[in-house]
C-alpha cells in the first residue's frame, strides 16, 4: 500500500526542487561577471592631456552605436561623442568620466591612445602603470602624439569615416607609403623602461583646409625614457621606419641639374635593413646595410636609361641621397636627442651581451659618439610604362 506512494512523491519533490532551481537561475542569471551590454559604450580612443598642478586630463572618444547604412540607419545621430575629465591619476579621471557619461566604458576595443605633446614632455612615467596592469586595455592600440590638446583632436576631427579613430588606425595599419610609423601599446610600454631601445610615436596634427580641419598623421616624436625629447621630420621619420623594419617602402626625391634643378622621384621597394654591431677592442662599431629596389616614378628631365653612364649616375645619386638621409637621421636621434630609438643598444645586447652589460650604464653617452657606417645598395629595377630611349625620333 505504501510502496507506490513513495516513488511518486519523491519524483514530485525532485521536480519541485528542479523547477525552483531553474527559476532561481533564470532570475539570478548573470549575477557574476556579466557585462550589461545595454549599458556598454565602446571607447574608440583615449586621450591624455596635461592639466595644471601635475594633474592629468583624460578624454575618451565614444562610439555611438549605429546600424550600417545598408540596414537603413539615418544619418541623424552623432556617430561619436567625446567626454573629458581631470584627475590626479588616470583612474580618478576615468571615474569622473563615468559619472558624466553615465555608462560603462568598454575599453578592449580602443584603437588609439593619444598623448598630448605637453604631457609627453612632462613625462608619462606616473601613468604607465595603469596601462600595464589593466586587463581591459587593448594592447594593440596605437600611440599617437597630438600637437594640440588631445581633447580637441578627439572632438573636432572630421574624417571620411564616422568615427575618426577608426580612420586613423586603419591608416596606420595600412603601412604602404606611410612615412610615419608608430608603435602599438604592447611595444611602446616596455620601451619606456629600456635603455637600449627607446620608444617613439607618430604625431598627429590638424591641417586646415579652408575652414574644416582634418588630422594629418606626420612626423615622429622621439622619447627618452618617459619623456618626449623631440621630433623627427617626415623624411627622417621615413628613415626611422626603414631602420625599424616597419616600413619597406618609401619615396626618394632628388634633383638633377639641367637648366635648373629638375626633381627625379624614385620609389623604393622591398627595403631591407641590417644593423650589425661589431666589437673591436672594447669599442663598438655598427654597420648599417640598406638594400632596396628602386623604381623610377617620375622625372622632369628626360632620361636615357639605356645608357650605362646615366644609370650609374642615377644609382650613385640615389645611394648618396639615401645614405645622407640615414646618416642625418641617426645623427639627429643619437646626438641631438641622445635617445636610442633605432635600437643600437638592443642589437648589441643580442649579439654581444657581455659588452652590453658593461656599457649599459653609460649607454646614452656612448650613443653620442657612436661609430656608424652606412652602406647602401639600390639598383634601379623598373621604370614604369614610359620607355626612356635616346634615339627616338620626336614627332
Amino acid at each position: 500500500m505504501h510502496t507506490w506512494k513513495r516513488p511518486y512523491s519523491r519524483l514530485g519533490l525532485r521536480l519541485l526542487k528542479g523547477f525552483s532551481l531553474l527559476f532561481l537561475l533564470l532570475v539570478m542569471s548573470g549575477c557574476w561577471g556579466q557585462k550589461n551590454i545595454d549599458q556598454l559604450t565602446v571607447v574608440a580612443a583615449i586621450g591624455l592631456d596635461a592639466a595644471p598642478d601635475d594633474r592629468i586630463e583624460m578624454s575618451v572618444q565614444l562610439v555611438n552605436p549605429t546600424l550600417p547604412v545598408a540596414a537603413g540607419a539615418g544619418g541623424q545621430r552623432r556617430p561619436f561623442a567625446m567626454y573629458a575629465a581631470e584627475g590626479d591619476t588616470i583612474f580618478e579621471a576615468m571615474e569622473q568620466i563615468r559619472k558624466q557619461a553615465k555608462k560603462n566604458l568598454f575599453f578592449p576595443q580602443s584603437r588609439i591612445i593619444l598623448i598630448e605633446e605637453e604631457l609627453a614632455r612632462r613625462g608619462i612615467e606616473e601613468y604607465t602603470d595603469f596601462f600595464w596592469r589593466d586587463t581591459q586595455q587593448n594592447p594593440l592600440s596605437w600611440i599617437l602624439i597630438s600637437k594640440q590638446p588631445a581633447r580637441d583632436t578627439l572632438q573636432k576631427s572630421k574624417e571620411l569615416e564616422d568615427v575618426p579613430s577608426e580612420e586613423w588606425s586603419d591608416f596606420i595599419k595600412n603601412r604602404r607609403g606611410n612615412s610615419s610609423v608608430t608603435l602599438e601599446l604592447y611595444k611602446f610600454l616596455p620601451r619606456l623602461d629600456q635603455v637600449g631601445f627607446q620608444a617613439y610615436a607618430a604625431g598627429i596634427a590638424p591641417v586646415s583646409k579652408g575652414g574644416e580641419e582634418t588630422m594629418a598623421i606626420r612626423e615622429i616624436a622621439v622619447f627618452k625614457q618617459h619623456k618626449l625629447v623631440g621630433w623627427l621630420t617626415d623624411r627622417q621619420a621615413q628613415v626611422l621606419g626603414w631602420l625599424q623594419g616597419k616600413s619597406h617602402n618609401g619615396m626618394i626625391q632628388f634633383e638633377l641639374q639641367d637648366r635648373g634643378p629638375k626633381p627625379v622621384v624614385f620609389e623604393l621597394k622591398q627595403i631591407k635593413v641590417r644593423l650589425v654591431p661589431s666589437v673591436y677592442r672594447n669599442r663598438v662599431a655598427y654597420r648599417v646595410g640598406i638594400r632596396a629596389k628602386a623604381e623610377l616614378k617620375s622625372s622632369v628631365k628626360s632620361l636615357d636609361l639605356t645608357d650605362v653612364q646615366t644609370n650609374r649616375l642615377l644609382e650613385k645619386k640615389l645611394a648618396a641621397q639615401i645614405r645622407e638621409s640615414v646618416e642625418q637621421t641617426i645623427e639627429r636621434v643619437c646626438r641631438t636627442y641622445n635617445s636610442d630609438v633605432i635600437g643600437f643598444g638592443e642589437a648589441l645586447h643580442q649579439s654581444y651581451p657581455r659588452q652590453w652589460k658593461r656599457m649599459k650604464k653609460r649607454w646614452n653617452e656612448e650613443l653620442a659618439d657612436l661609430d656608424v657606417q652606412v652602406s647602401v645598395s639600390v639598383p634601379i629595377i623598373k621604370t614604369g610604362l614610359k620607355s626612356d630611349q635616346r634615339g627616338l625620333q620626336p614627332e
Binding site: 533564470l26 542569471s29 557585462k35
Partner: protein, 481 residues
C-alpha cells in the same frame, strides 16, 4: 484427442461466454462425414481472411468429407488436420485458453462434438495499409517503400532484401493485456551472440500491460533510462534496417507500428542516413560534415550569442558590435529573457505546425517566422540579431536526421543557454564538458555511445567521418563491432 462427452453446444457455449458474447464472434456449424458428426468453426469477423477461411476450412470440411466414413474421433481429428483442411497452418489447441488466444490472433477454431481440444487454423487476414512511401522521412534517392503495421509484410520487406539462410526471425509476445507480437531479426553469423542474448533477456523482462508502439519497448529495453539521448535507432525504411542487419545489428519489429527498432545504436548512427550511401562519396562526406556542424550550431548558437554578448563583447568585431548594440536599443528585455522568449515561441510554432492540416501548416510557419518576427522587431520587443540566431538554430536542428536526437538537442539547447547566461563562455564550456562526460558513460547494448571515435578504432572512425567509397568496403571479412 481425448474423448469426452462434451457435446458441441457446450463447447460453443464456453467459447461464447469467455468472449462475453462478443458481437464479432461467428460460428459455422456443419456436419462431417457420412455419419454427419457435428463440428463447428468459430472465428472473429474482421481479423479473418474470408477467402482462405472459405477455401481452406469450410469448403473442404463440408464438401470433401461427404463420402467419408470415419468413426473414431482420434482418427477424425488427425484426418481432418492432415488431409482435409487445406489452409496453410494448422495446430492443436489443447486447452480452451490456448484456443481463445489463437482465436484472438486470427485463427479459426474447429471444435468437434465430444472431443477435448480443437484444431486451430491460421486464417489471419487483417486489412493492412499498402506499402507506400514512409511519411516520416523524405527519400531523395533510394527505395521508397516503407514499413507498414503488419508484421508479415514487414518481414517480407526484409526477406526480399536479405535472401540469406542465416537470417533469423524469432517471435515473442509482450504486453500482458495486448499480447502484441514482436519479431527479432538478425543475421546469425554477423550479429554478436551476446547482443542477441541481451535483447532476448531484456524483452523477456518487459512487464507492462500494453505495447502499442515500438517506443514503449524502446524505453524499457534501453540502457540508460534516464538519459536524454536516444540509444535505440528507429526508422520506417526497410533499406535502413536491412543495412543495419547486414552490419550485425539486431532489428525489432512490433506489430501495429511501422517503426522498426535497431540496436545497438551509437551517436554516429543517429547522424547517418542510409542515403549517404546512395550519393557520390565526396558529396556524401560533405553532407555528413554539414550535419555535424549543424548539430553543434543547433546546440550552441543561442548560448554562444548570449555568452559572448553578455560576458565577452570584445570578441565581436567592432562594426558588428556596434550594429548589434544599436539594434538592441529600446528592447525592454535582458538578453537572456529575449533569447528564451524567442526560442520558446519558435518551439510553440513548431508544435502548432505539426497539428495543422497540410494546406494551412506551411503557411503558418512562414507567416509565423516572417511576419511575427518582423513585426516584433519593428515594435521593438526583440532585436533582429536574436531573430537571426533563433532562425539559424531552428534550421540547423532540422539538419539532424534522427527525430529523437533532434528533440534531445532542442532540450539541451536550453540547458546550454542557462549555462551561458550564468558564466558566459566558461559556462558554455562547462555545459559541454558535462554533456561530454554523460555521453562517454552511455552505452547501447554493450557498445559505448561514442564509438568508434572514442574508444578510437581507426577504420571504423574513418568510415564515420568520411563516407568512404564503395570500392574499399564490403569485403567478405568485414565485421562490425
Amino acid at each position: 484427442m481425448k474423448r469426452n462427452n462434451r457435446p458441441l453446444q457446450e463447447q460453443i457455449g464456453q467459447f461464447k461466454s469467455e468472449l462475453g458474447n462478443s458481437a464479432d464472434l461467428s460460428i459455422r456449424e456443419c456436419a462431417v462425414g457420412v455419419k454427419q458428426i457435428p463440428i463447428a468453426v468459430l472465428w472473429l469477423d474482421g481479423i479473418v481472411d474470408t477467402q482462405s477461411l472459405n477455401e481452406g476450412v469450410l469448403a473442404p470440411l463440408i464438401s470433401r468429407t461427404r463420402e467419408l466414413d470415419v468413426t473414431a474421433h482420434e482418427d477424425l481429428y488427425i484426418w481432418l488436420q492432415n488431409s482435409v483442411i487445406t489452409a496453410k497452418k494448422v495446430s492443436h489447441a489443447l486447452s480452451i485458453d490456448q484456443a481463445i488466444t489463437l482465436l484472438l490472433s486470427g485463427h479459426s477454431i474447429v471444435v468437434m462434438d465430444g472431443c477435448e481440444g480443437s484444431i486451430a487454423v491460421e486464417t489471419l487476414g487483417i486489412e493492412t495499409r499498402s506499402i507506400e512511401e514512409p511519411a516520416s522521412t523524405v527519400v531523395v534517392r533510394g527505395p521508397r517503400d516503407g514499413f507498414v503495421e503488419s508484421l508479415e509484410v514487414n518481414v517480407s520487406l526484409i526477406r526480399r532484401r536479405i535472401q540469406n539462410k542465416k537470417l533469423r526471425v524469432e517471435a515473442m509476445t509482450v504486453g500482458s493485456v495486448t499480447h502484441t507480437s514482436i519479431l527479432i531479426l538478425y543475421l546469425q553469423d554477423r550479429a554478436p551472440e551476446e547482443t542477441v542474448a541481451e535483447v532476448r533477456r531484456r524483452l523477456s523482462q518487459i512487464h507492462i500491460d500494453a505495447v502499442l508502439e515500438s517506443h514503449y519497448i524502446e524505453e524499457i529495453i534501453r540502457d540508460n533510462a534516464r538519459s536524454l539521448f536516444p540509444t535505440v535507432y528507429s526508422t520506417e525504411r526497410p533499406d535502413d534496417i536491412a543495412g543495419g542487419i547486414v552490419e550485425g545489428r539486431v532489428a525489432l519489429m512490433v506489430n501495429g507500428t511501422p517503426f522498426v527498432l535497431l540496436v545497438p545504436c551509437t551517436l554516429f548512427h543517429l547522424m547517418k542516413t542510409s542515403e549517404d550511401y546512395y550519393l557520390a562519396y565526396p558529396v556524401a562526406t560533405f553532407v555528413r560534415w554539414l550535419r555535424y556542424i549543424g548539430l553543434f550550431i543547433a546546440l550552441l548558437f543561442p548560448s554562444l550569442y548570449v555568452g559572448v554578448l553578455m560576458f565577452h563583447p570584445e570578441m565581436v568585431p567592432p562594426y558588428l558590435l556596434s550594429s548589434i548594440l544599436s539594434a538592441r536599443e529600446g528592447v525592454p528585455f535582458p538578453l537572456l529573457i529575449e533569447a528564451l522568449l524567442m526560442e520558446l515561441t519558435f518551439e510553440g510554432l513548431r508544435e502548432a505546425g505539426i497539428r495543422m492540416p497540410r494546406a494551412v501548416g506551411s503557411a503558418i510557419s512562414i507567416v509565423g517566422a516572417l511576419v511575427i518576427g518582423e513585426s516584433a522587431v519593428r515594435a521593438g520587443i526583440i532585436s533582429s540579431p536574436t531573430v537571426i540566431i533563433v532562425a539559424g538554430t531552428a534550421i540547423s536542428s532540422f539538419i539532424i536526421p534522427s527525430i529523437d536526437l533532434s528533440g534531445t538537442i532542442r532540450l539541451l539547447r536550453f540547458f546550454m543557454l542557462i549555462c551561458a547566461s550564468l558564466f558566459g563562455l566558461y559556462g558554455v564550456l562547462f555545459g559541454l564538458i558535462l554533456i561530454g562526460i554523460h555521453l562517454t558513460t552511455l552505452r547501447s547494448f554493450g557498445i559505448s555511445y561514442l564509438a568508434p571515435i572514442a574508444p578510437y578504432k581507426k577504420d571504423e572512425a574513418r568510415k564515420t567521418l568520411i563516407r568512404v567509397p564503395w570500392w574499399t568496403l564490403r569485403t567478405h571479412s568485414r565485421r562490425h563491432r
